[in-house]
């Protein structure tokens, strides 16, 4: 989201301040409205259930502007959970390429972060950060909804 240095000759003073306001406004809107797309690899479904739990009345992530969207073209955050095997690898790469940038990637659960018990498996194609760049890790098997919310809050603060 970095703006190139202004092309007009007078780039000192007012223009620089305006530019910094523009960038901070963009960042503010971005972190206030993160739309989430959920990619499940070869998951045992526990993390999927905990992710859905975050959107239920008890935890209600919509109060932070977080929505679950159906199409990757609308997404700002790509949640990846489950162990990524050789077939999932291609799909994950394709999904990542189809996403409009800037996109944040969050690896959820032990399988997403490190591979967990599948790390030495035959079909395992590496944890998520070997395939695409990851912005936040939320470990746990499965992580509690509170842990997922804490991770998302840290991610939002780092934007």
């Amino acid at each position: 989201m970095d703006e190139p240095a202004g092309r007009c000759g007078n780039n000192t003073g007012v223009f620089r301040i305006l530019n910094s306001y523009k960038v901070s406004f963009k960042n503010f809107c971005f972190k206030k409205s993160l739309w989430v797309f959920h990619f499940g690899g070869a998951s045992c479904n526990n993390c999927d259930i905990e992710i859905l739990d975050c959107l239920t009345p008890r935890y209600d992530l919509e109060r932070f502007g977080i929505l679950l969207v159906g199409s990757i073209r609308h997404a700002d955050v790509l949640l990846v959970n489950g162990s990524i095997n050789k077939r999932d690898r291609e799909r994950l790469l394709e999904i990542y390429e189809q996403a409009p940038k800037p996109i944040l990637v969050v690896a959820i659960g032990a399988c997403g972060c490190t591979g967990g018990i599948f790390a030495e498996g035959n079909t395992f194609a590496g944890p998520v950060d070997k395939i695409i760049p990851v912005d936040a890790y939320i470990p746990g098997c499965p992580p509690k909804p509170e842990a997922i919310i804490a991770g998302i809050v840290k991610l939002v603060k780092s934007v």
Binding site: M1, F25, K26, F28, C29, F30, K32, S33, P57, D60, E62, R63, G65, V69, G70, S71, R73, H74, D76, Q98, P100, K101, P102
Partner: protein, 310 residues
């Protein structure tokens, strides 16, 4: 000339209706959240969504599609919605009296957004978007005839006056049209037509996000999707305002009456939200027969009753 530009861009047009519509969209989401015992998004959430899509996200063009049509159709949608908002809100706010027959113009302008969604989805070259587009087309074909019958009913009740200004005037001089049997029937028909025009839940089969992953809008990202969001905000304001003008004797902006005006429009949006939250999605076949048979019958009954003076 400057006055017309002001009408189009600032007061009843783009800026005003978009801002009001955004607040109504927040209201809709908040009520949805309260119905589900959640807390709901903050007040400025629709603005965050819009500016994020407009300023931050990148636009992706589909590989196998027609990029010009794909990018132009959201612009057409916004244009249609803004023109419709000007034609509806100027007589409603008692600024300009409009012209004879502007109900027909409004009817055509209100169909432009839906048609643009269809064009955009078919131009994107995505199979799921094609499914969504064909469903949207069938839905348009089924509810437009009902909407026309609804307008015919209102015109019958206004004893043959074709323009919005005199429809409002007749109601303000006598009594609102809804205070009669045919008026109540017309209100029911109108609410369901608006629900289908807005693509809210019983009739959201074109963008069913769990089934065909947002259907018509699947390939849109960034600024074009922001345009679509803007169209949705504007439509969420002007359609309830149109219904208010046609059946609930319009609004007036003198003193306490502003509260009445707010109450009428938010009341209609509340009704739409409650219908949306308490119903499952229909199949396209069910929606077509719902409009083509039942709603048309109801509208025809209302016209006959209005003709007989009930």
């Amino acid at each position: 000339m400057a006055v017309y530009l002001f009408y189009l861009i600032v007061f009843p047009g783009l800026l005003f209706s978009a801002v009001t519509g955004a607040f109504l969209s927040w209201f809709d989401r908040k009520i949805t959240a309260r119905v589900q015992f959640r807390k709901g998004p903050p007040l400025l959430q629709p603005f965050y969504d819009f500016f994020k899509l407009l300023l931050v996200k990148e636009t992706i063009l589909p590989k196998k599609g027609s990029p010009v049509m794909f990018l132009l159709s959201p612009v057409f949608a916004v244009t249609g919605a803004v023109l419709a908002s000007v034609f509806i809100l100027l007589p409603l706010f008692n600024i300009v009296s409009g012209f004879k027959g502007d109900l027909i113009v409004i009817f055509y302008l209100l169909t432009i957004p839906s048609f643009s969604y269809v064009m955009g989805s078919l131009a994107s070259g995505n199979p799921l978007a094609a499914v969504g587009g064909s469903r949207e087309m069938k839905l348009i074909m089924s509810y437009e005839s009902t909407f026309l019958l609804f307008l015919a009913g209102v015109i019958t009740k206004a004893s043959g006056h074709f323009d919005l200004y005199s429809v409002i005037n007749i109601q303000q001089n006598t009594s609102p049209f809804i205070a009669s049997v045919s008026g109540i029937l017309l209100f029911i028909v109108g609410i369901f037509c608006i629900q289908a025009k807005l693509g809210l839940v019983p009739f959201d089969m074109a963008e069913a996000e769990t089934e065909i992953t947002e259907g018509t809008f699947i390939e849109y990202s960034g600024p074009p999707y922001a345009m679509i969001k803007l169209t949705k905000y504007i439509m969420l304001f002007i359609l309830p305002a149109f219904l208010t003008a046609l059946l609930l004797n319009g609004i007036s902006l003198k003193g306490v009456n502003i509260l009445w005006a707010l109450l009428k429009i938010t009341g209609i949006v509340l009704l739409l939200t409650l219908i949306r939250n308490t119903n499952p999605r229909l199949k396209i076949k069910q929606a077509v027969s719902f409009f083509m048979v039942w709603m048309n019958l109801l509208a025809v009954a209302a016209i006959i009753l209005a003709y007989l003076g009930y």
